[in-house]
Structure formats: C-alpha cells, structure tokens
Amino acid sequence: MTPVATPFFFYLLAGIMVIGGILVITRKNAVHSALALIVTLLAQAAVYLMLYAPFVAGVQIILYAGGIMVLFLFVIMLVSIERTVKERQFNKQWLVGIAAALALGGLFIAVYTKGKGIFPTHEMSGGEAQNTQIVGNLLYGQYMFPFEIASLLLLVAIIGAVVMAKRRL
C-alpha cells in the first residue's frame, strides 16, 4: 500500500511524542506522568510503523505500553498520591538539566550533520512484508552474541528480584 501524507503523520506523531515527553517530566502526579509516557511510547510505535518496521512496532506496544508501563503504574498506584503531590519536588537543578539537554541535542545535531552518510535514505530491501523475518535473521544470526548477553542480563535481574522478594515470603 502506498503511503499517504507521510510528512503530516510524521510531524503529528513527533509532536505528540514531544508533548508527551514534556508532560512526563512536568506533571506532579506520578500516574499522569506514566500515562503521558505511554502516549509517547504509542506514538513511537506508530513512527516505527511508518518506517516499515511493523514487528518492532508490535513489540513496542506489547512490551512497553502493555507490559512495562502497566508494572510501572502498578507500583505508582500503591504510593499515596496525596502525599507525593504535596511533597515539594526535590529536583530543583534546572540549570544542570537544561545544560545536559542542550549538550545531548548538540551531540545529535553534530552526528546528524557530520555523519549523514550512515543513515539509510532509501527503503529497506524486503520492506514491510519481510520485516519479521529480517529481524529474526539479524537477531539469531549477526547479533546472536549481544542478544544472548542481553538475555543473560535479564536472567541476573530476575534472580536478583527473586532473592530480594524471597527474603520475606
């Protein structure tokens, strides 16, 4: 299917992501922040779709929006909201924050202007239809080792969580 109004959707989604991101750090209510983050993640998933990466988009929805953020909310809900709203926000380091953001932004711009060549500007071969297979082949072929390392890391995290929780059960 031919894409329709690509720039419009890109800027729409990018706008949603930026607004969502700002809401995440400005809302006092932690649940609202988490919900804003979910909106950002969903918009990101839509951007993946526009990049002909439906598999990554699907995984983004299942894992981030549907899984991780639910667990986030799960924890946040247990914290008394009245208390957190009343408490003063402790991170008053605006200047450092802005400096860090500017530095990161500068880095991005620098990378983009200097190394434009490394970004593929053409459509990926195989495209949408073969996306899942491509991801699978890459993960289990070229990037087998990092993939396994990541799973090992997760295993360590799981064992750590079990050890922490088991102390009381």
Binding site: L78, V79, S80, A165, R168
Partner: protein, 384 residues
Amino acid sequence: MTDQNTSLSPLDLEAPEKPFLDANELVINMGPQHPATHGVLRVILRLDGEKVLGLECVIGYLHRGVEKIAEARTYTMFNPYVDRMDYVAAVSNGLGYCETVEKLLGVEAPPRAQYIRVILTELNRVASHQLWLGTHALDIGAITPLFYTFRDREEILKIFEKYCGARLTTHAFRIGGLQYEAYDGFENDVRKFVSFVAPKIDEYEELLTTNRIWLERTKGVGVISAKDAIALGVTGPVLRASGVKWDLRKAQPYANYKNFDFDIPTGQNGDTYDRYLVRMAEFRQSLRIIQQAVDGIPEGPIMAKVPKVMKPPVGEVYHSIEAPKGELGYFIVSDGSTQPYRIRVRPPSFVNLQALDVMCRGAMVADVIAVIGTLDIVLGEVDR
C-alpha cells in the same frame, strides 16, 4: 474510607507484621454493606497488598435489644421474639426458649409434641445448612449451588408454612408443647421430603466435594485447632470439624434426642473443607433423625398442663441446645412474676465470630470471605 471512630485496636498477633518494602498499609473497610458479609457485619482489614495483617470486627448494626425487650414482656409474649434472632433457624431458637421456660416451670412437653419438635427442628437444621452451603459457595465464587439449595430449602419452608402458617419466623412451639396439631399428611410430607432431598445432597456434593478449585480454596484455609476452638468457645460444626466429638444432642440430650440413633460427624484438620464435610454429613444425620422421628411419632396430647398465666417460681436456669450454628443457650432469671426478670441469650454466632481473627491471620482477602462464610454467622443473632 474509614471514619473517625475507626481506631484499630492493637491486635495480639504473635509477630507484628510489617508491610513489604515499606509499601503503604492498606486499611479496608469491608461492610457493613458488602455482598459477602452476610448482612451488616463490618470487618476492618489491614492489608499488605492481598495479605491480611490484622482484622477487627465491628458489630452491633442490627442490635435491637432483644434481652431488654424480654424484660417488658410476659414469657408467652416473648416467644415470637426469639425467632428474630437467628432468622434462618427460627425453630431451633423457639425450641431452646420453650425448653428453658419449661425447665423453670417444671413441666415437660408430652411425647407427641417432643417428636414433632424434633422433626421440625431437624428440618430447620437442614434448611439452615442449605442456606449456609449456598451462600458459602457463592462467596467462594460457585454461583450454581445457591440455586440448588434454595430450590430444596423451599420444600422445607412449604412444610413449615403448612404446619404453622409462617415460613421463616415460624413461632412453631409454645411453652409446654405445641399450639397446632400436625396437619393431615404432615408425616407423609416429611417422608416425601426426606426421600426427595437425600439425592439432592449428593448433587451438591457432586458440584463441590471433589471440585479442584473448591479444594484449593477451602483446604488449609481458616485452620483452627481443637485447643484454640475450645479456648475461643467455638461450638457447633466449627468445633466438630476441629476434631472434638461434641454435640449437645448427645452430650446432654434435650427434647427426646436420646431416643434417636445418629452419629456425630467430625473432621480432623479444622479447616474450611472439613467444616464443609462435617455440615454435609450433618445433612444426612439430620435426615436419619427425621426418618426415625416420623416413623416413631406417637399419638397423644400435644400440650402439657401449663397455667394460663405463667408465673415461674423464683430462680434462675441455664439451658442450651445444639442449634445449627452451635450451642444456643438461654439463661433466665425469674422473680416470680409474669415477666422474666432477665433473659440472657448465649448466641453461637456471636461467640464463633470471635474466632475470625485467629482463623484469618496471615491469610489473603479471599480467605477472609471464605472464613466468614464457613463460620455460618447470622447477624441477627450476633447483634440480637
């Protein structure tokens, strides 16, 4: 969620339980309006997530001052009031009250009255257990047994209705015997009921006894040891499920229970499942008693000689019967007038409810519901 007079009393939990990882302790107010508290019981739960750290019962929402009312009524006038305490086992309440006053007066109901009393009381026990089973299963999430038990309980209520005109608050007995002779075909109706309900009890068991989820939900839940049960004064099926073979019908026979042959079913583990099995066995034992009573029912008068104006001699008496829920005792003090000087009711539900705290320690919210169900409390009796 909790109002200002909800100060949680310090509970004597062996080790004070702390919520995990400094999570906030959740105080939940279960009831007085709640689908599973069987009326207006209010339980204040302190929770860590799903785990119960402690609980406190708040009762009295149905307090009507029955004991005070009794002091302004004559002995006969107070008789209908006792039906309103444990309203699902009204006949048992009436039996206990009438027997206590008879004891005070020194009269005894004639044999025919005794037999009819036993039949009606045991029918009422079956009805009470049926109501318990239905609501208990409903609390645990099985909705179908409720309708089965209510269908069959209807037959008992029909017999009551034919006998005395009332279905629930029957006022079936009078001091000294019965007011009504059994209607024509009473024995036939009772016999028909016994043969009708016996297979139905198998039907209930089929739905629940070996149901895996039912086993998981009831085995090892709300365990109370025989020692604790006695110390907490728990009686009835709850005590028997803990392995104490004690039933007032056998231990201190009243009415004419000594004429009948029946067993006392007991359990071993004192958990919710054993209490379930004990009550299921009690269904069958009650049917046995009814069968024997209806076969042996003698002819004769139904009313002993009692004065029109009852003036029991000065004195006090305590008498108790095995109600469906446990030991139901009446303590009556007479000052020689037509009105009782003091009537004290020893309600089984009230005392049994006290064990809720012990039985729910360290349990989950869902277990609290199961335990409230298995204690088989009636708030009308708890609060009186």
